[in-house]
C-alpha cells in the first residue's frame, strides 16, 4: 500500500533501483523488498487519434510518482466513497501511464506471471489508482507475481465515434481501448526487465474494467498480447437493452452548435468546455461511453456477434458479488441494522417490497442460499448476476477450447453489523489489501479469505487454473454441472442452478431502495482535480 506503517528504510536513490528496459532506464523504489515503479509512460497520443509507442530515451527516467489520469466529464464525490475509498488524482489528457509492482528486476530468467488490471468507472471515469484497493504491492508479494495497473483515455476522449466525419477519425470511437492494446504491447516488450513473463499475461478488471476485458477478448489487435482473462462484475443484462436514438457524436456537435465540416474544432476545445456543456444533458450522459463495434478494431459484444475464434482459446474467470449496487448506497433501513431484525420485521419489510410474491422470493432465496437470512432479499444484486450467468452459458455452449470458471463473492462485509458485498467489495480481496480498507476488514476472517481469493487469481494467472490451497476443488463451468465457486468465510463450490432461478426472479421484480446521500453533490459543478 502507498500508506502503511514502515519498519524498514525505503530505498529510493538516483541509481537504485533502476531497471534497464529496451527503450531506456527507469528508476523506481524498493519498499519492504517489493520494487515499485509508478507513472511509466507507455504511449503518446493526439486527441481522437490512435496512440503511438513511447520513444527511447537517454539517461534515467524517474518512475516514482503516479502519472496523471484521464480527464472526466464529471468528477463528483461518490456516495460510496466510504465503502469504496477512492483516490482522486490530477487529470490531464496526457494520461497513458502505468505502474508496476514486482519482486524481481533485471532478472530475465524470473518469468513471473503478469497481471494487468483494467480499472472500472464504466468507460468514462476512473484510473489505475482510483481505488486504494488497486495498489499492487501486497498482491505482488503474496503471489510473487508482477502487477500492472494503468490509466488510459476515457469518455469522449477515448470513445467518441467521429468516423462519420472523416477518415482521420476512423478509430476515434475506440482509441480508449487502443490505449489498452498499446499498454499490452508495452508489457510484451518491456515486462521481462521487471521479472515478468511476456508470454503469460492475464488481463483482469472489474465493472467497466470487466467490460474492457470482455471487449479486448473481441479485439483482433489484442490477440496474443494476453493469455488469460478475468471479468469481475463486468457483464450486465442492462447493457444489451440500451439503444440511444442519437449518436454521441451528433449530441456533442449539437451541444457546440458545430456543423459537420467544423468537427476538427473538437480537437482543440479546452476540456472544461465539454464538462460545461454536458451539464445541459440529462445527468449520467457523461457516463454513456463505450467501445464502438466497427467490425474492424472491435468486433462487438458476444451476445450480439458471438464469441470470436481467438477468445475461445483464452481461459476466462468470470463472476460478481452478492450485493453489487443494491448495497453501495444503503447503510441502514429505518435507522436500524438489517441483522438486528427479527423474522417478523424482516417479513414485514419484504412484503412491502415483494407483495404477494414474498413467499416465492423466500422459497427461491432459501434454495439458493439456505444459510443466509431472508432479509438479504432486499439487498441482492440487480445488475450483474444475470449477466455473469448468461456469459457462462454462452462460453459453455460455444465449444471453447479453454476453460471458463465462475465465481460469486458473497462474504458479508462489516459496516453496520453486516452489509452484503457491494459493487467493488471483492477488489480488496483480489489485491490482498482487504486488511487495509476500513469497511472490508474483519479480524481473523479477512486474512483467510484474501489468501484464498488472491491465491486463486494468482494461480489462475500462473496456470490457467484457479485452484488454490485452502479452498475446495473448483472445476471449470460446464452446462451439466454449472459449478460455481462461492467465496465466503467458508468458501464452497456448488451448482448455480438454484441461484439462477433466484436471480431471474429478482430481475423481474424491481424493488426500489432508499439511497443514502453521504455528501452533498455539487449544485454547481466545479470539476474534480484537473488541469
Amino acid at each position: 500500500m502507498f500508506i502503511r506503517k514502515l519498519t524498514k528504510q525505503a530505498v529510493c536513490n538516483l541509481d537504485e533501483p533502476v531497471v534497464l528496459t529496451p527503450d531506456g532506464r527507469l528508476r523506481g523504489l524498493q519498499v519492504d523488498d517489493t520494487y515499485i515503479f509508478r507513472g511509466i509512460k507507455y504511449a503518446d497520443a493526439e486527441r481522437f487519434m490512435l496512440p503511438t509507442p513511447v520513444k527511447p530515451w537517454e539517461g534515467v527516467k524517474d518512475a516514482i510518482i503516479y502519472g496523471p489520469v484521464c480527464p472526466e466529464i464529471q468528477t463528483v464525490q461518490p456516495d460510496d466513497n466510504y465503502t469504496v475509498p477512492h483516490v482522486f488524482y490530477p487529470q490531464d489528457e496526457d494520461c497513458q501511464y502505468l505502474n508496476v509492482w514486482t519482486q524481481r528486476i533485471n532478472d530475465p530468467s524470473a518469468k513471473r506471471p503478469v497481471l494487468v488490471w483494467f480499472h472500472g468507472g464504466g468507460f468514462s471515469t476512473g484510473s489505475g489508482i482510483e481505488h486504494f484497493a488497486y495498489d499492487g504491492e501486497n498482491m505482488s508479494r503474496f503471489g510473487d507475481v508482477v502487477v500492472v495497473t494503468l490509466n488510459h483515455r476515457l469518455n469522449l476522449l477515448g470513445y467518441l465515434d467521429l468516423s462519420a466525419y472523416g477518415e482521420r477519425y476512423r478509430y476515434s470511437g475506440n482509441v480508449g481501448n487502443a490505449d489498452l492494446v498499446e499498454a499490452l504491447r508495452w508489457v510484451k516488450r518491456n515486462i521481462t526487465a521487471f521479472g515478468g513473463d511476456p508470454d503469460n499475461v492475464t488481463i483482469f478488471g472489474q465493472s467497466g474494467g470487466g467490460g474492457k476485458v470482455a471487449s479486448l477478448l473481441q479485439t483482433p489487435s489484442a490477440d496474443g498480447l494476453f493469455h488469460r482473462a478475468v471479468i469481475q462484475s463486468g457483464i450486465g443484462r442492462f447493457g444489451r437493452k440500451r439503444k440511444p436514438e442519437k449518436s454521441m457524436a451528433e449530441t456533442v456537435l449539437e451541444l457546440f452548435r458545430l456543423t459537420p465540416d467544423r468537427v476538427q474544432e473538437l480537437e482543440t476545445m479546452p476540456y472544461w468546455r465539454f464538462q460545461e456543456e454536458f451539464t445541459k444533458l440529462p445527468s449520467g450522459a457523461g457516463m454513456a461511453f463505450g467501445p464502438t463495434k466497427d467490425g474492424d478494431f472491435y468486433l462487438g459484444d458476444i451476445f450480439e456477434v458471438g464469441i470470436c475464434a481467438h477468445a475461445k482459446t483464452v481461459p476466462v474467470l468470470v463472476g460478481n458479488v452478492l450485493g453489487e449496487f443494491s448495497q453501495n448506497f444503503v447503510s441502514t433501513v429505518d435507522g436500524t441494522e438489517k441483522n438486528s431484525w427479527d423474522e417478523e420485521k424482516a417479513l414485514r419489510i419484504l412484503k412491502e417490497k415483494y407483495g404477494n410474491d414474498t413467499e416465492e422470493a423466500i422459497r427461491l432465496h432459501r434454495a439458493a442460499y439456505p444459510d443466509l437470512p431472508v432479509q438479504n432479499l432486499l439487498f441482492l444484486d440487480r445488475m450483474f448476476r444475470g449477466g455473469t450467468m448468461d456469459y457462462l452459458h454462452a462460453r459453455a455452449k460455444a465449444c471453447c477450447t479453454a476453460p471458463t470458471y465462475g465465481f460469486m463473492f458473497r462474504m458479508e462485509q462489516p459496516p453496520y453489523g453486516g452489509t452484503l458485498p457491494w459493487h467493488n467489495a471483492e477488489i480488496p480481496y483480489v489485491f490482498h489489501n482487504a486488511d487495509y480498507i476500513e469497511p472490508s476488514y474483519v479480524p481473523g476472517v479477512t486474512e483467510k479469505v484474501q489468501d484464498i481469493v488472491c491465491g486463486a487469481w494468482c494461480h489462475f494467472a500462473e496456470k490457467a487454473d484457479p485452484n488454490t490451497v485452502g479452498a475446495p476443488f473448483w472445476p471449470p463451468f460446464d452446462e451439466e454441472n454449472q459449478a460455481m465457486m462461492y467465496f465466503d468465510e467458508y468458501s464452497y463450490v456448488k451448482s448455480m442452478k438454484a441461484e439462477e432461478d433466484l436471480f431471474n426472479f429478482i430481475d423481474s421484480h424491481p424493488v426500489e431502495m432508499t439511497r443514502v446521500i453521504r455528501q452533498k453533490q455539487p449544485k454547481y459543478f466545479g470539476g474534480g482535480p484537473r488541469v
Binding site: V76, Y436, P522, Y524
Partner: protein
C-alpha cells in the same frame, strides 16, 4: 491514516461514535480507540457571500466521508509528489467541511486541547486532507488531543473583492478568511461534544496555512476564538498585502475579462468556474504587467477588521496580543523539494573538491565567508549542504519571532526542523517535511521515514506541539529545555537526530548568506 493496516474492526455501527452537538447528532467511526468524524459541514456559503451557520437537523448524520475541497485554478501532479504525498479529493464550491479526530465524545468534562489545522497551498490550492500527513488520528491518540482539519474557499472564490458592486459582496475579498473564522466559531460552539475545550484552541498551519494563521492573528473578528498560534514555514515573509485599491481594481479587471457590466453583477455568481478562473488569471496578468511584472495573488485584503495587514507592515494588533506563538521552518524548504537544483548526482557522494567547486560556483568571492559561517552554525554538516539551505524562510521566521517577542508579552517560541531524509542518499528537509512529524505520521510516509530516528523524534515533536496547545509552552514530559525566544535571548530549538537548543546559532550565516532564488514555475506541474 485513512488507509493503513488494520488489526480490529473499524466501521460505523448504529449507536456507536455518535456525537450529540447543538446542530444534531453526527455518527463517525471508532478507529482503534480514536473517534473519527469526516466531512462535517461547518458553514454554507453562496459564491462571494459570507458563510452562514449550517442548519440544525433531526436524526443522525453520517460523518464518514471527507467533504469536497475548494476548486483550484490548476490541479496538477506536483513535482514533489514523492516527497510530499498528496491526497487529492473532489472539488466543489460546496466545500466548507471539517474533520475531527478525538479520544472522547459526549463527555463535557474531558476538555482536551483542540488543534485546528490550516492547510497550505498558498491561498490558492489545497485542502484539509491534501497531504496524507494531515491525518489527525495518530496525533490525537498519542497526545490525547482533539485534531481538526478543514477545507475553505480559496483563490478567486475566496478573495475576489466585489465590495464595489453591492452590500451583499461587502466582505467577498476576505470570504476565504471568513470561512476560517466560521470554522473556529463552529469549533467554539460544538467541540465540547467531541471532548474538546472550546476555551483552549490552537490554530496551526504550514506554508499558506502559516499565512492563514498569521491572518487570524491580524483579524479583529477572529480574536478570542483561539489562544495559541503556530506558524510553520509560512506567513512570516514580507509579502505585499492586498490593498483595498488593488483588490477592487483586480475585481474590475475580472469583470471586464468576463464581459460582465456592474448592473449584471449577479451573473458572476453562476459563471462556470473554469471560465471565472481563466478570467481571474488574465486579470492578474494585467495588473502584474502594470506593476512592472510583480505577481499579484488572490489573498487577504486589508480592511482593518477581518484583516488588518501583515505584522511586518503594521505591527501586531492589540486584540490578539495575549496569544502564545510558536513559529519556525525547515532547513531546506524549496531548495530540496525538487531533487537537486545544484550540481550533479547525489550530494552525499560528492567529493570534497566537487562540493567546494559547487559552493564557489554559487557564492563566488563570498565563498570563504559563507563556508566559515556555515561551519559555525552547522558544524555537523558537509560544506555542500549550504547550497540546500533556505535562508530566506529562516530569516522570516527569526524576524517574525523577534517582532512578536518585542510587541507581545505572551510566550513566543522558535524552531528549525533539520532532519536529513535518507532519500537519494541524503536529502535535507524539504518544504512540508516537518508536517508528518507534527502529526505523528512520519513512520507511514516512505520519504519521511528514517529507520531508528523517526519514532522517537516524532514522539518528541508531536508532543511539543500538543503541550503548546495545552498550555502555551512546548515543554513537558518528554520535551524539555526549550526556552522561549525573547529579544534578549533568541532561542531556537533545532530538531535533528540529536535535538539541540541554541541562541542565535546562525547569526553570522544569516548575515552573509544571500538567499538563493527558486522559480515559482518549479512549484507547478510535472510535464514529462
Amino acid at each position: 491514516m485513512y488507509i493503513r493496516k488494520l488489526t480490529s474492526l473499524v466501521c460505523p455501527r448504529v449507536g456507536q461514535a455518535e456525537a450529540v452537538t447543538p446542530y444534531g447528532t453526527f455518527r463517525g467511526i471508532l478507529s482503534e480507540g480514536t473517534y473519527v468524524f469526516r466531512g462535517i459541514e461547518y458553514a454554507a456559503a453562496k459564491r462571494f457571500h459570507a458563510p452562514e451557520k449550517p442548519a440544525a437537523f433531526q436524526g443522525i448524520k453520517e460523518a464518514i466521508v471527507y467533504g469536497n475541497a475548494c476548486p483550484e485554478p490548476f490541479t496538477v501532479v506536483p513535482h514533489d509528489q514523492y516527497t510530499v504525498p498528496h491526497y487529492f479529493t473532489v472539488q466543489s464550491q460546496d466545500c466548507l467541511y471539517l474533520n475531527i479526530w478525538t479520544q472522547h465524545i459526549n463527555e463535557p468534562e474531558a476538555k482536551r486541547p483542540v488543534m485546528v489545522w490550516f492547510h497550505g497551498g498558498g491561498m490558492t490550492t489545497g485542502s484539509g486532507v491534501e497531504h496524507y500527513a494531515y491525518d489527525g488520528e495518530e496525533a490525537s491518540r498519542f497526545n490525547d488531543v482533539v485534531v481538526v482539519t478543514l477545507n475553505h474557499r480559496l483563490n478567486v472564490l475566496g478573495f475576489l473583492d466585489l465590495s464595489a458592486y453591492g452590500e451583499e459582496y461587502k466582505d467577498s475579498g476576505n470570504a476565504g478568511l471568513l470561512d476560517l473564522i466560521s470554522a473556529l466559531e463552529w469549533v467554539r460552539d460544538n467541540i465540547g461534544a467531541f471532548g474538546g475545550d472550546p476555551e483552549n484552541v490552537m490554530i496551526f498551519g504550514q506554508s499558506g496555512g502559516g499565512g492563514k494563521v498569521c491572518s487570524m492573528l491580524q483579524s479583529k473578528r477572529a480574536a478570542g476564538l483561539f489562544k495559541r498560534a503556530v506558524l510553520q514555514s509560512g506567513g512570516m515573509r514580507r509579502g505585499a498585502d492586498q490593498t483595498k485599491e488593488q483588490s477592487r481594481k483586480l475585481a474590475a479587471y475580472v469583470l471586464e475579462e468576463l464581459g460582465i457590466v456592474p448592473e449584471n453583477i449577479k451573473e458572476i455568481e453562476t459563471v462556470w468556474y473554469d471560465r471565472l478562473s481563466e478570467a481571474a488569471a488574465r486579470a492578474q496578468a494585467r495588473i502584474s504587467a502594470e506593476n512592472g511584472g510583480k505577481r499579484v495573488m488572490f489573498g487577504p485584503v486589508v480592511d482593518n477588521d477581518i484583516y488588518c495587514g501583515h505584522p511586518f507592515n503594521v505591527g501586531f494588533i492589540e486584540e490578539t496580543k495575549d496569544v502564545a506563538v510558536l513559529c519556525g521552518n525547515v532547513y531546506g524548504e524549496f531548495m530540496q523539494n525538487f531533487n537537486f537544483p545544484k550540481g550533479e548526482g547525489m550530494k552525499g557522494r560528492w567529493t570534497e573538491a566537487y562540493a567546494y567547486e559547487m559552493v564557489k560556483d554559487e557564492y563566488g568571492e563570498k565563498t570563504e565567508k559563507v563556508t566559515a559561517a556555515f561551519k559555525k552554525a552547522y558544524p555537523e554538516r558537509p560544506v555542500q549542504d549550504v547550497l540546500f539551505m533556505d535562508i530566506g524562510m529562516r530569516n522570516g521566521a527569526y524576524d517574525f519571532a523577534l517582532l512578536r517577542a518585542k510587541e507581545s508579552g505572551a510566550p513566543c517560541y522558535n524552531f528549525l526542523f533539520n532532519l536529513e531524509s535518507p532519500l537519494n542518499g541524503g536529502t535535507l528537509p524539504w518544504h512540508n517535511a516537518e508536517i508528518p512529524y507534527i502529526f505523528h505520521n512520519a513512520d507511514y510516509l516512505e520519504p519521511s521515514f528514517a529507520a531508528g530516528t523517526t519514532g522517537p523524534l516524532q514522539d518528541l515533536i508531536s508532543r511539543a506541539w500538543a503541550n503548546f496547545a495545552a498550555c502555551g509552552n512546548p515543554n513537558g514530559g518528554i520535551v524539555s529545555g526549550w526556552e522561549a525566544f525573547t529579544p534578549d535571548k533568541r532561542c531556537t530549538m533545532i530538531f535533528d537526530r540529536e535535538c539541540r537548543m541554541e541562541a542565535d546559532h546562525d547569526a553570522e550565516l544569516r548575515r552573509v548568506l544571500p538567499p538563493r532564488q527558486i522559480s515559482i514555475s518549479m512549484l507547478l506541474g510535472k510535464k514529462k
